[in-house]
C-alpha cells in the first residue's frame, strides 16, 4: 500500500447548529418557487453542510444565470405565451437546483454517512416557494416591457 495513504489527512467536519435539508427535496421548492427559491435554499443548505465559499459562489452564479435566462426568454417572447410562464419558471428553478445538487451532493452524502438526520423542508420550502416566487414575479413584471 502506498505510504501516502498512511499519512493522516482527516479534518473534523464542520458542525452547524441546524442540520441540512435533503438535497433531492430541494427540487420541489425550486420547481414551484423558481430559481430564486432554489438559490436561497441552496445557499442556506451549503452553509449548513459547511461547503466552501467557491462552491457557494457556483450556486450563486447558477441561480443568477437561471434568473437572467428566464427574464431574457420572457423579454424575447414580449410577455406573450403565458402558458409557458410556469414551465419556464419551473425550468429555471430546476436548473438552479441541479447546480445545487452537483455542488452539494457529496457533502450531503458524507453528512448522511456520519449518521446525520436531515431537517424537514416542508415549512421552509413553502415559505421560500411563496416568498421568493412572489419577489421573482414582481421583479419580472418590472423588467418586462
Amino acid at each position: 500500500m502506498s505510504q501516502d495513504l498512511l499519512v493522516p489527512t482527516v479534518v473534523p467536519p464542520v458542525v452547524r447548529e441546524r442540520p441540512p435539508w435533503d438535497i433531492s427535496g430541494l427540487l420541489y421548492p425550486a420547481a414551484f418557487g423558481g430559481a430564486l427559491a432554489a438559490t436561497v435554499l441552496g445557499l442556506i443548505n451549503g452553509y449548513r453542510l459547511g461547503v466552501g465559499a467557491g462552491r457557494q459562489a457556483v450556486v450563486c452564479l447558477a441561480g443568477a444565470a437561471a434568473i437572467a435566462l428566464r427574464i431574457a426568454l420572457l423579454v424575447a417572447l414580449h410577455g406573450r405565451h403565458y402558458e409557458l410562464l410556469a414551465a419556464l419558471n419551473a425550468g429555471a428553478g430546476m436548473f438552479a437546483w441541479y447546480a445545487v445538487r452537483r455542488v452539494q451532493l457529496r457533502a450531503g452524502r458524507a453528512f448522511l454517512l456520519r449518521g446525520g438526520e436531515t431537517a424537514s423542508l416542508l415549512l421552509p420550502g413553502l415559505v421560500a416557494a411563496l416568498g421568493c416566487g412572489l419577489v421573482e414575479g414582481v421583479a419580472t413584471l418590472l423588467v418586462l416591457p
Partner: protein, 461 residues
C-alpha cells in the same frame, strides 16, 4: 455459579458472539479468571460485544484499557478506531486506524474501515484508493462489499451502489448488513417495495437492530395507499417527469390541441404538488398501532386537540375557497357552452376601450342585439377580437347571458378553461371533504368495532 476460567470461557464468549448474543458473551467474559480476563483476545471479544450493543463509549474505553496492556495489538487498535469513528472523534479514529495499519498494512478490514472514515469526511479519492487496495487483498470479503457500496453512495452513483449491493446480497443472502444496504440503494432508486422487502428481511435476520426496524417501518409507510400514485414518479424521477410534461405540452400545442395541453399542465402541477405534500401528510398524520392489536387499516389518524383544530381549519378553509372558485365557474360555464354552440342573442358590439397589461389586451364595447331589445354597455369581448381591430369598429357578437361580456359569432373555446377550472374546484372540494371529514369518521367507526383498541382512540371526538 463457578467462575469460568481459561480458554473454555473465552471460547464460549466467542461462540455467543457468533450467534448474536453479545450480552451473554459479556457476562461470560466477566466471569473469566484474572489471568485470562486481561488476555488480548478477551479484550477484543469484550470490545466486539460492546460494539454489537452500540455501546461505543464503553467499547472505546475498553479498547484503550486493552491497548494499555497490549500496545501492539492491531485488532484492538482497529476496534478503537471504529468506536471513535462512531463517537464522532474522526481525528482520533484516524490515528487509531493508521496505527493498526502501520502494524499490518495489508489488512482488508482496517483498510475498509479507514476508507469508510475518509468517506464520512468527504475524502473520496483517498477512500477509493483504500477500497481498491482492500479489494485486491480480499475481493469477496463482506466489509469490502460494504465499503464499495458506501463509496458509490458517497459519490452519488446510486445505480452503481444498487448493483454492488445486489452482488453483496447474492454472495451473503442472509446477512442483515447486505440486505439493509440493498434496501437503501433500492429506496434511493425509487423501488420502494423492493426496499421494504429487503429491510424486512434484514429485520427478520436481526430483530434487535432498532435502526433497521425504524427504516423498515418508514418504508412500510411509503408503501401506504395514499402514496401509491407516486410510484411512477419515484421510478422516473421528478426531473424526468417534468421534462415529459414539458415535451407533452409542447407537442400537443404544436398539433393545435391547446386545451389538452393545458389539461396536461394542470394535472402535472397537481400531481407534483401532491408528491410534495403527501409523504409529509402520511408520515405526520399516522400513528403507530399499539402492539398486539389487529390494525384495521394499517395506520390511523391521531385524535389530539391540535390536530382536530388543524383538520377543521384546513377543511373549512379549503372548502370555502373551492366553493367560491367553483361557484364562479359554475355561473360562467352555461353561457360559455352556449357560445361554443353558437346559441344566444345575435347583435353587434361597438369597440370603445382597449385595456392592455403586459402585452395582453382586453377589449370592451357597447353591445346591441339585432332586434334592439338587448343593450349591454361596457361588455367585454370574450375570446378577443380579430387582428387589426381598433376602437370604433363594429363586430358581430353573441350575447349568451354571460355576466361580464359577449362572444364572437364564430364560436368560443372559453368553456374548456372554465370547465377545467370547475372540475379542478370540484376535485379539490371532494378531496378536502374526503380527507378532512369523511376518512376520520370512517376510521373512528372502524376502530369502534376493533376489539382491544384503546378506548381513548375509539371514542374521543
Amino acid at each position: 455459579m463457578t467462575a469460568a476460567t481459561g480458554e473454555s470461557g473465552v471460547a464460549r464468549a466467542e461462540a455467543l458472539l457468533e450467534v448474536g448474543r453479545p450480552r451473554q458473551a459479556l457476562a461470560e467474559l466477566a466471569r473469566l479468571g484474572p489471568d485470562t480476563a486481561e488476555d488480548a483476545r478477551a479484550f477484543r471479544l469484550r470490545v466486539e460485544a460492546l460494539i454489537a450493543l452500540d455501546a461505543w463509549a464503553a467499547a472505546a474505553r475498553t479498547a484503550r484499557q486493552g491497548l494499555a496492556l497490549h500496545s501492539t495489538d492491531a485488532e484492538l487498535m482497529g476496534q478503537l478506531g471504529l468506536a471513535l469513528h462512531a463517537l464522532g472523534d474522526y481525528p482520533g479514529a484516524e490515528r487509531a486506524l493508521l496505527d493498526a495499519l502501520a502494524i499490518d498494512p495489508f489488512d482488508a478490514v482496517r483498510r475498509c474501515r479507514y476508507a469508510l472514515l475518509c468517506m464520512s469526511v468527504g475524502q473520496l479519492r483517498k477512500a477509493t484508493r483504500l477500497v481498491l487496495a482492500a479489494a485486491q487483498t480480499a475481493p469477496e470479503s463482506a466489509i469490502v462489499y460494504v465499503a464499495r457500496v458506501q463509496l458509490e453512495f458517497a459519490r452519488g452513483r446510486d445505480r452503481a451502489a444498487e448493483r454492488i449491493a445486489a452482488e453483496f446480497v447474492g454472495r451473503y443472502p442472509s446477512m442483515p448488513v447486505a440486505l439493509a444496504l440493498y434496501g437503501r440503494s433500492a429506496a434511493l432508486r425509487g423501488r420502494t417495495v423492493a426496499a421494504y422487502q429487503s429491510f424486512a428481511r434484514a429485520v427478520a435476520e436481526d430483530p434487535a437492530d432498532e435502526e433497521r426496524a425504524r427504516v423498515a417501518e418508514t418504508l412500510r409507510i411509503r408503501a401506504h395507499p395514499l402514496l401509491r400514485p407516486l410510484r411512477p414518479l419515484e421510478r422516473v424521477g421528478p426531473v424526468g417527469a417534468w421534462l415529459a410534461t414539458v415535451v407533452a405540452f409542447v407537442v400537443l400545442r404544436a398539433f393545435g390541441l391547446t386545451p389538452l395541453a393545458v389539461l396536461v399542465a394542470f394535472v402535472s402541477f397537481g400531481y407534483n404538488a401532491y408528491s410534495w405534500v403527501a409523504p409529509f401528510l402520511v408520515r405526520h398524520v399516522t400513528v403507530p398501532v399499539p402492539a398486539g392489536i389487529d390494525r384495521p387499516q394499517g395506520t390511523v389518524l391521531p385524535d389530539t386537540r391540535w390536530f382536530r383544530v388543524l383538520r377543521w381549519t384546513v377543511g373549512i378553509g379549503v372548502a370555502m375557497v373551492a366553493l367560491c372558485c367553483g361557484g364562479f365557474a359554475a355561473v360562467d360555464i352555461g353561457p360559455d357552452v352556449r357560445a361554443a354552440a353558437g346559441r344566444g342573442t345575435p347583435g353587434t358590439i361597438v369597440l370603445t376601450t382597449k385595456d392592455c397589461f403586459n402585452g395582453k389586451c382586453d377589449w370592451y364595447g357597447d353591445f346591441t342585439s339585432d332586434d334592439g331589445r338587448v343593450r349591454f354597455p361596457g361588455a367585454a369581448m370574450q375570446d378577443g377580437v380579430p387582428a387589426g381591430a381598433k376602437v370604433g369598429d363594429r363586430l358581430p357578437a353573441l350575447d349568451t347571458g354571460a355576466r361580464d361580456g359577449v362572444f364572437p359569432r364564430t364560436g368560443s373555446t372559453e368553456w374548456v378553461y372554465v370547465g377545467m377550472f370547475l372540475g379542478l374546484s370540484l376535485f379539490v372540494l371532494l378531496g378536502d371533504v374526503t380527507l378532512c371529514f369523511l376518512v376520520p369518521v370512517l376510521l373512528r367507526r372502524r376502530l369502534a368495532r376493533t376489539p382491544g383498541w384503546p378506548r381513548s382512540l375509539r371514542t374521543s371526538r
